[in-house]
Symmetry: C2
DNA sequence: TATATTGATATCAAATTCCGATATCGATAT
DNA sequence: ATATCGATATCGGAATTTGATATCAATATA
């Protein structure tokens, strides 16, 4: 179960995942797609890269280029602003889970 | 803190909230907007109503019209299909929260 | 009888986002 | 030269989001 009729439910989750990982260590797109797949999310690069770009453009991530064996990788790291959103996301996600488990 | 630079992070949360409430009792738009506001989400009716419509169209909700003191209300209730998504959402949300709280 | 009010849903057009497919990039291997 | 490899970028069509505005049906009021 994971298809196009309800992917939009989880796009926010994916964005939060990105912020979280980028708060722990620099992340780049290709690797992150695998990480997401491991968590059961499927997302194409046509979706993923623009998300990275927007998060950067909005000031939640910063990027550094790294040349790895001749391949350019763009590593993203969270910013102070990004951390604020992440914190808010943490709170809201916890609240959601609590509510979902009320009797 | 809750503005248009990161609303998209939480639109999925809102949709899950809808499914959850519609699994407990019939819900309608106007009332639900208040409920969301209580939870710290701001969303206009131009966003909210189309979400209800799509959830219904995709078979996750069913609607019944009720005439309350002359005002028509559209009460939405979750379907079997909707419950499946809700269950999946519950699992994914819990997983997200767990991950966010890892050291 | 008209019209204002009230609680509610519907829809519009512009902007943004999503998506799969396809292109591109830079270095190394053949 | 060109094929391959790991990676990022972008295209155009579709779908979603948004604030603003319209509409609806009944009742209250003038």
């Amino acid at each position: 179960m994971e298809d196009q009729t309800f992917r939009d439910f989880f796009l926010g989750f994916i964005k939060i995942h990105i912020l979280y990982h980028a708060s722990r260590e620099p992340v780049y797109g290709q690797e992150f797609a695998d990480e997401l797949r491991r968590h059961g999310y499927t997302v194409s690069f046509g979706t993923l890269y623009p998300i990275f770009h927007r998060l950067q453009q909005k000031g939640f991530l910063i990027v550094t280029h790294k040349n790895i064996k001749g391949k350019i990788r763009k590593y993203y790291t969270i910013t102070r602003e990004g951390k604020k959103i992440l914190k808010e996301a943490k709170r809201k996600a916890a609240e959601l889970v609590d509510e979902l488990h009320e009797n």
